[in-house]
């Protein structure tokens, strides 16, 4: 099954027909957006297009196919494989991962109980975010997180949407499989939001390497402890650590002889110094490398790589990926 078939089979029959006819390059498509009683939109190469009933992409909205409530309902049937009941946890979190690792974001009416979301009904908004792996995007970073045959504790710092998950995913793959003469190591991944592995029925849809164990949909702090106790990883990787529990668990991992690869939201090292627990970890020089990403003309631009003392190791131009 090719990528296009894999993607369009989750849509209602009419939308499936339209997308089948469309000449959009599905390797370039980033998002497909369905909103009840609103135009069918497709985001391709960072530009938004409407799709006409004949499958033609248009930059203006006139003449574009209007998505009906029935089409949304039908699409939900196929996304959930006729089993919405099996995705209650995913509905609470607002997304479902489908075959191929594509993430389907959902919005509608939430049913809350106390502070928690119990479920979501009247789903009227669907955003299919197509997964894109950038194999090799970590090539230029690898030499700086590997020293004397050992992986270094590394923290990827990046504002949202700058490619930190994509970079971490490729670093995990390279560490696990081994690359350019470096031996592979056992990597444990706590994938709380299914973004790294994009697991479908427990199997990662993205390439995370041959020595990687994935705890899918597991809270990060608990998952890190579980991995240490059960899978004896040499490296533990987590995406978007932020809460106090996450950082405390990271500290525990680092003191257990495991190496840690993590990402956090932030614009630079100074930004992190203002966050209470991280500030303490930075002061104690717990991280051996800081990889700072920035948005230049495209996501995935490595601005700086710093050592544990904040000394700049490499500059920007040589480190860009995704060209």
């Amino acid at each position: 099954m090719d990528r296009k078939d894999e993607i369009i089979r989750i849509f209602a029959k009419e939308i499936r027909r339209i997308l089948e006819q469309s000449d959009a390059d599905f390797n370039e498509v980033q998002e497909i957006r369905l909103r009840a009683e609103a135009p069918l939109l497709l985001i391709c190469r960072d530009r938004e297009y409407g799709v006409t009933p004949a499958g033609i992409l248009k930059e203006e909205i006139r003449g574009v196919h209007m998505v009906t409530r029935e089409e949304i309902r039908e699409t939900m049937e196929y996304i959930s494989r006729y089993s919405l009941y099996a995705f209650e946890e995913e509905l609470r979190r607002g997304f479902i991962t489908v075959q191929g690792g594509h993430r389907v974001g959902l919005a509608g009416k939430t049913v809350a109980e106390d502070e928690n979301i119990r479920t979501m009904k009247y789903i009227s908004f669907i955003n299919v975010r197509l997964s894109h792996q950038v194999l090799g995007c970590g090539d230029s970073v690898m030499p700086y997180i590997w020293e004397d045959g050992q992986v270094l504790h590394s923290l990827i710092i990046s504002p949202p949407g700058c490619g930190k998950t994509t970079l971490l995913r490729d670093l995990i793959r390279q560490l696990s499989t081994g690359s350019r003469g470096r031996r592979g190591v056992t990597v444990g991944v706590v994938d709380e939001r299914s973004e790294l592995g994009a697991c479908y029925q427990g199997v990662p849809q993205n390439d995370l390497g041959i020595r990687t164990d994935v705890l899918d949909c597991c809270p990060k702090a608990r998952g890190m402890m579980m991995l240490i106790r059960t899978m004896s990883p040499q490296v533990i990787a987590v995406d978007e650590a932020g809460s106090r529990q996450d950082l405390e668990a990271m500290e525990y991992v680092m003191s257990c002889g495991c190496k840690l690869m993590a990402t956090v939201h932030g614009s630079d090292l100074e930004d992190l110094r203002r966050k209470p627990v991280l500030q303490d970890m930075i002061q104690r020089k717990m991280f051996e490398r800081y990889i700072v990403l920035g948005r230049r003309d495209r996501p995935g631009w490595v601005d700086q790589i710093l050592d544990s003392g904040g000394r700049r190791l490499y500059g920007p131009e040589r480190m860009a990926y995704g060209a």
Binding site: R9, I10, A12, K13, R16, E74, E77, Y78, S80, R81, Y82, S83, L84, Y85, A86, E88, T119, Q201
Partner: protein, 173 residues
Amino acid sequence: MVLKLTGSLLVTCSCGALGLWKAAQWKEHLKMMEQLKKMVLMLKREILYGHTPLGEAFGQVGRRTEGVLGELFRGTEERIGRGQGELFAVIWQEEVENRKKDMFLSDREIRELCAFGEHLGYLDLEMQEHTIALYLEQLDMSIGFYREHEREQSRLYTSLGIMGGLFLSIMMC
């Protein structure tokens, strides 16, 4: 005379065998209903406790069961896996209709089996529980009826067969 006697014997034996066959069918019917109940209970466990999606749940149960009912469940899993944009109720109904000749089920039971698929997968776990519970109740009623009348029906069909055979023989002689 010998010919007549042989003919009568053959007629009696054939009618007796027909009676025995009908009695066996009744038992077969009961067996199938009991097997179906077991499968629905397994499906219930997969859905309610494993939160397994319908396709996989049908597949898991189907692979543990031989015969036409196993084929029905496995066929349903395969159709769901193909993802050709059909509603589940349609898939289930077609799979049941395609195999109904091989199932020892009455028209009413086939209708109930089709209706079982109409609401399966719809809404949350509570809804699944109710749908399955309703169908299990219908199955229990049918099984109860077949069990209650098993002995008398077996006797009735066997004796009717033999007596019918004897009657025909007498009439022919």
